[in-house]
Symmetry: C2
Subunit: 816 residues, 2 copies
């Protein structure tokens, strides 16, 4: 039947089919919210057929179902690959209902079969203890976006279509959701979309007029203003307005026409750009100099739909004398008292029957074959698309050997190099080898973070005007830069969940902007990992630079190492944190991260030139172990207990620790100092708490069960205590780290302000190793004086003393 339809058939029969699908989905959605038995209403509805707790969101649901039913029509017609993103993910009943109608649900979850028993289970399990969540969660086939925390739908949608030229992602945006910052920023995403090589996003702004308890801004602004706004966003809006909720026929006709127009519009844009990209119709790079009209060479105005329909459409119009359909009162459960209020129960029964289930399901509770024909087949079903189960499509990155980039060293700590510059050259090669499934995302900081080598092989995407003076901007490229951490994160999430790879490079302090998005992604991964039908996706890799200790042009507001603390609250199996101390360890860590799946990897590295401690082979070993004793830096005697352990994690703390060990070595000959560097922070936890955790015996061996440990840490000190909690020697652990002291000052002054400088660390050792304080009071005093001098030097000269700035392990040794 599908095959027999003409290209633009909006015949009665087709729309009637769409309508039946819609009614079926609405019926199933309602059943999920209310019913725990009697799914087909074989008996008169009784109170105890209903659930004791009525949990879910009806208001958004009929709109989602309406859109879904219509999308199916065009998918079938055009054999178009589509992905569905439900911005208002609280409309979980809708996405689940459609997945069941398409058969996917029963294929994945055998206990929820395509018949009456399955329908009963479908209803029972929803928002039910031991059942499924109320939102478009990982458990939901076809979903890449939970929509629990609102605002990320449009960014996710864009992420899914980058490098997917054949895909159109339809995204329903709630009018409430549209008020959020991340969503508001997302409208500009098409400036980063290459019509030739990427797919398309079809935004469907769902103006159902309300959010939880209020009207929405976009629904209430004058129509003319809304039109200006959407055009201002660079869209060509098609409006579908449901004037009369009962005239669903008109609504179907209008929406189908709008959808046809949008698909035609998308193909027109793609067609002309793709032709030009192939050199058929002119210069692919002529866009954007003239005003906005499509075809004039300006960035295209992508079509979109505005659906104005009543919230809770087809639900009860009036309940207890108050208007419900078309108001915020339909947001959750319009009839709240069906168990105790006979009138409510009656109204629910009428409401269920209004969908005429007997026309939709057969005697066995199966979807009638005629209605079923509205579903596309196989992977074209949006609930079954592999783009929403990206692990199915993911191919591992081809990773260049990093040996070619690694830095050979004559001796540890004698040369300075910017780890990020070198990493940039390796990432450049990663890009060269993976031009279609790897991207670098950043809030205008890729060069600031010193990764500029990537521009030797690729560009930053930009569709608006490109001027002569611009560098590395082009219509297509592997780098996406926008001044929105939310967009970087949202795009990357969509890109990963649809099967690709990427890195988000960001200032360390400002990654907190996406704390909450990170939460949602980490939660997603936790659940996703347990679902056998979901295949592993590439890890989300954060590369945090311009970190707390190196804020040249900036100050206190840019100093915050707390993202790590935030992240470790999430499930241990998902979180990995790396603090490579130098360039070679950074390379090794990044290679590991880019090859991994289903994690969130956090890598923190400074961009300023800093000492290289380990040659390539040692670095690889060090990273494999995750931590290690640095013999070259310490002064212990093999076979004997050390007197003190100086431990460190993070590049700047490592420099200070090695320098402190050197101060102690020369100042207190015979003192046995052990230096331990930690790359993989999770090694500090016990193996029972984290898969990377170090067994107790290893930990005791390295950190000793009873000697003082002076630990210089990159971030807030409490995290080290937390991780090393209940280690044998936790009482011996003394941690230095960032304590919210600082401003615009020199790097060494920052270290001093927070007490992680070499002098303080050496003093700490003197104070904590029994017996030293008395014997080495003079040294202690000297260290204090040098500290004071170092500070005074910054005040006079505006920079750190040369002995600090240019310090290397060798130089110091010679002068020592």
């Amino acid at each position: 039947m599908a095959g027999s339809m003409g290209q633009d058939s909006l015949g009665q029969e087709t729309l009637d089919l769409v309508d039946r699908w819609w009614r079926a989905a609405n019926y199933l959605s309602l059943g999920q919210i209310y019913l725990r038995s009697n799914p087909l209403l074989r008996e008169p509805l009784a109170a105890d057929h209903t659930k004791s707790r009525l949990l879910g969101h009806w208001g958004t649901t009929p709109g989602l179902n309406f859109v879904y039913a219509h999308l199916n029509r065009v998918i079938r017609r055009d054999q178009q690959e589509m992905l569905f993103v439900a911005g208002p993910g609280h409309g979980g009943p809708a996405v689940v209902a459609n997945a069941w109608l398409e058969g996917t649900y029963s294929e994945i979850y055998g206990q929820v079969g395509p018949d009456e028993a399955g329908m009963a289970e479908l209803f029972r399990q929803f928002s039910y203890p031991g059942g499924i969540p109320s939102h478009a969660a990982p458990e939901t086939p076809g979903s890449i976006s939970e929509g629990g925390e609102l605002g990320y739908a449009l960014a996710h949608a864009y992420g899914s279509v980058f490098d997917n030229p054949q895909l159109i992602t339809a995204v329903v945006i709630g009018d409430g959701e549209a008020e959020t910052g991340p969503l508001a920023a997302s409208w500009h995403s098409h400036n980063f979309l290459d019509p030739a090589a990427d797919g398309a996003v079809l935004p469907i702004l769902h103006l159902n007029g309300y959010k939880i308890a209020n009207p929405t801004i976009l629904a209430r602004m004058p129509q003319e203003q809304l039109e200006q706004l959407l055009r201002g966003y660079g869209h060509e809006p098609y409006f579908v307005t449901v004037e009369d909720p009962d005239n669903t026929e008109q609504a179907h006709r209008d929406f189908a026409a709008a959808l046809n127009n949008c698909l035609a519009g998308i193909r027109a844009i793609q067609g002309s750009r793709r032709a030009r990209a192939e050199g058929v119709g002119g210069n692919a790079d002529d866009g954007g100099t003239a005003a906005g009209a499509p075809g004039s060479g300006a960035a295209p105005h992508w079509p979109m739909i505005v659906l104005r329909s009543p919230k809770g459409w087809t639900g009860p119009r009036i309940v207890d004398g108050l208007q419900v359909e078309g108001t915020w009162r339909s947001h959750q459960v319009p009839l709240a008292e069906v168990r105790t209020n006979g009138a409510h129960l009656k109204q629910l029964e009428e409401w269920l029957k209004s969908y005429r289930p007997e026309e939709l399901f057969d005697a066995d509770g199966r979807l009638r074959p005629d209605v079923a024909t509205n579903a596309p087949t196989g992977n074209l079903r949006m609930s079954a698309t592999p783009h929403a189960n990206g692990g199915l499509l993911r191919t591992p990155l081809r990773l260049p050997a990093y040996a070619a980039h690694a830095v050979d060293i004559a001796a540890p700590g004698t040369e300075r190099i910017s780890p990020m510059i070198t990493l940039g050259s390796w990432i450049r090669d990663v890009i060269s080898l993976n031009m279609e499934n790897f991207r670098l995302f950043g809030p205008d900081e890729t060069a600031s973070n010193r990764l500029q080598a990537v521009y030797e092989v690729t560009d930053k995407v930009w569709q608006y005007r490109i001027d002569d003076v611009d560098e590395h901007l082009a219509r297509s490229g592997r780098v996406l830069e926008v001044l929105s951490e939310h967009l970087c994160q949202g795009w990357l999430e969509g890109y990963l969940l649809s099967g690709r790879h990427g890195v988000f490079s960001c200032y360390e302090a400002f990654i907190h902007i996406v704390d909450s998005m990170f939460n949602q992604h980490a939660k997603w991964l936790k659940v996703h990992r347990k679902l056998p039908w979901r295949q592993p996706v590439a890890s989300l890799n954060y590369l945090l630079s311009s970190h707390v200790w190196q804020q040249d042009h900036n100050g206190f507001s840019h100093q915050d190492p707390g993202f790590i603390d935030h992240a470790v609250n999430k499930k241990a199996e998902v979180i990995r944190v790396y603090l490579p101390p130098d360039v070679n360890t950074l390379l090794s860590v990044m290679e590991h991260c880019l090859a991994s799946t289903d994690y969130v990897n956090i890598v923190v590295s400074g961009k300023q030139p800093s000492p290289t401690w380990l040659g390539p082979a040692d670095a690889a070993n060090h990273c494999r172990r995750g931590l290690g004793i640095w013999e070259f830096a310490g002064s212990e005697v093999p076979g004997e207990d050390p007197d003190v352990v100086l431990a460190c994690a993070g590049d700047v703390p490592t420099v200070e620790t090695v320098a402190a060990a050197e101060l102690l070595k020369w100042g207190i000959p015979g003192l046995k100092v052990r230096v331990v560097n930690v790359v993989d922070l999770m090694r500090l936890q016990d193996v029972s708490e984290h898969p990377h955790g170090l067994p107790a015996s290893d930990f005791d061996g390295i950190f000793t069960p009873d000697k003082p440990i002076i630990f210089a840490y990159h971030g807030y000190p409490s995290l080290i205590h937390r991780l090393a909690y209940r280690r044998t020697n936790q009482d011996g652990l003394h941690v230095r780290g960032y304590k919210e002291e600082g401003t615009t000052t020199t790097p060494f002054d920052m270290a001093m302000l927070n007490g992680i400088d070499r002098f303080q660390l050496a003093i700490d050792a003197i104070d904590r190793v029994p017996g030293l304080a008395e014997k080495h009071s003079l040294l202690r005093q000297d260290l204090q004086d040098r500290r004071i001098q170092a500070r005074a030097h910054t005040r006079t000269h505006g920079e750190d003393p040369e002995e600090i700035r240019k310090w290397t392990l060798m130089a110091q040794k010679e002068s020592g």
Copy 2:
């Protein structure tokens, strides 16, 4: 001279004055970035007159100075109160320069006098160790917005004008900044602004074309599209385009004209709305039904300015053969090598001289009197406005006695009530008593969080169409609801820093959305508190409800108690965390918070009916202590050591703990159980770490030095370990809390999933009190069975067993 100017004088003389001010500000900005001596160029510029580290951002600075100079003209002309918000706060040199020119800087900071020595110090201190930050920080007179983390300027600006009818806040928005989510959402803020009772915001979108390393979206989209976008936001844009950077005269004329138009436009809107509000010109509440034209009754289109000017305007055009002025290359320090490259040094000298300092400063380095006349006087100076030092204007809230709302109880834990509903009635009374300086902010959740009693005395502000079906919407009101946590936070910050009071009520999980904004505010407060000239502002109060343990309609994505963890990384002197266990303690805590200053208070409370434990007087004492032993819940014998301490913090954990104590009491007669409830979480820290910390001896007395402590905590368990770190009995501390387990399920199932349920806590006690495990194996088994039964009940009935749902302390006792 100011007095003699006509209303719209744009005469040559006036604009020349503005130009001289601009040049002076540019000169001083440049001096701050580059010079450490020779401020007036008395000698030929030499390398060692310049700073060794050149730190700061030039690119945005001339634009900020340009705007500031022009604003001064109209302030003087109209004696208009204005506040200046620099979105690109990295233009710190500009705001500092203007404050110095206005004399404010020298008034506040005596060492930076208004003469040559002062100028030298002004230059030296900038971005210098021991000096001042590079941004518009708390140290900067006239600033309420650091602008270090970009995106909050416009929200801050709106916050400052609510309930300030006489104020206009001019806010410069960077075109890069405009790409951020929070900024993009902020454009709609005027829908929440009452032209009659609030002041006005004048946005000045600064299209200097670039951010750090890229062009900006708004600068590159076609002009026509930009116009649509800004009109779509509800603004009437006035464009000022600097075609020829050398023709500054034209630029001045154009900007002055635009500014005149904007001020006239603002006054027209305010005039008509205020007249109507006073009943002069019609119905104040007729807005918004017709289309957007001003005066037609629709929401007004507020004027704004778009300033298209070259980034780094007036700076070096070409450096080393590359274009700098008008490109991203001018973002930071255009001439980077003045110390080592003679050509750079020469170019810097020419650049400095291009401002003709001799026309601007006299022989003593003082601003020439004629130039100085461009400054307004006294508090009209934007650098001196009390609106930017809100503590000067703050009047304490009039707080109603909460006794009238407190709940009397017959016995502890016998009645259930929703604490939030009762709190709502108290907040209603707070509102009634403070109709002009208190607001409630929320992301569409005020009613969902059960504070609906406030609508008995006030409404939610809304300027677009209001329909008959709407409830509690009006043109003015005390409640601001928008689906953007960023806006709630940004508005509230602006409102507080300009001297008023407020509460932000939010779902607990989603407050992470503003983690980073919270960071910036907490950092602001830390610095602000140390500045003697800044007066205390009201605390920022978070009221977090719909918390992790009570997610009826929602699931995993809505379960996150980690905001507390995030907050405690900030300076202890700023952070307060309260977990009131019941209604009376909630009232007491909120009263305390609303009376406090310079803190961030975090209050977490459930909205579901829950037991009341303490009568009003006991609750007040409990809160004053911050924690306490609950004799009624335990079974200890005065004068004897308890066998075990059951501690709790948070409402749900408290219920489970009291119930667990009861289980133990009946199950193991003679067992001495102490129950401790913690309201003020910071009490757990040592007094050396937090001002609220409990002295060691008190802690040891309450928690015992050696008995097992079973601590049921609202959030992630590690926080309790962290806070109680190094307490004598920390090894005896066993914490239960949220461990990222959960989904859409019943409340008690959530407790069980995370192991904080009563049965588990009782089992924990049995396992940890020496000797119990053997003797009470049967009880232990029985508790396990009851746990399994409770879970099974949820699976069968979809809700918790009645004995759990309806549990009260009394009922249990009788049946026990």
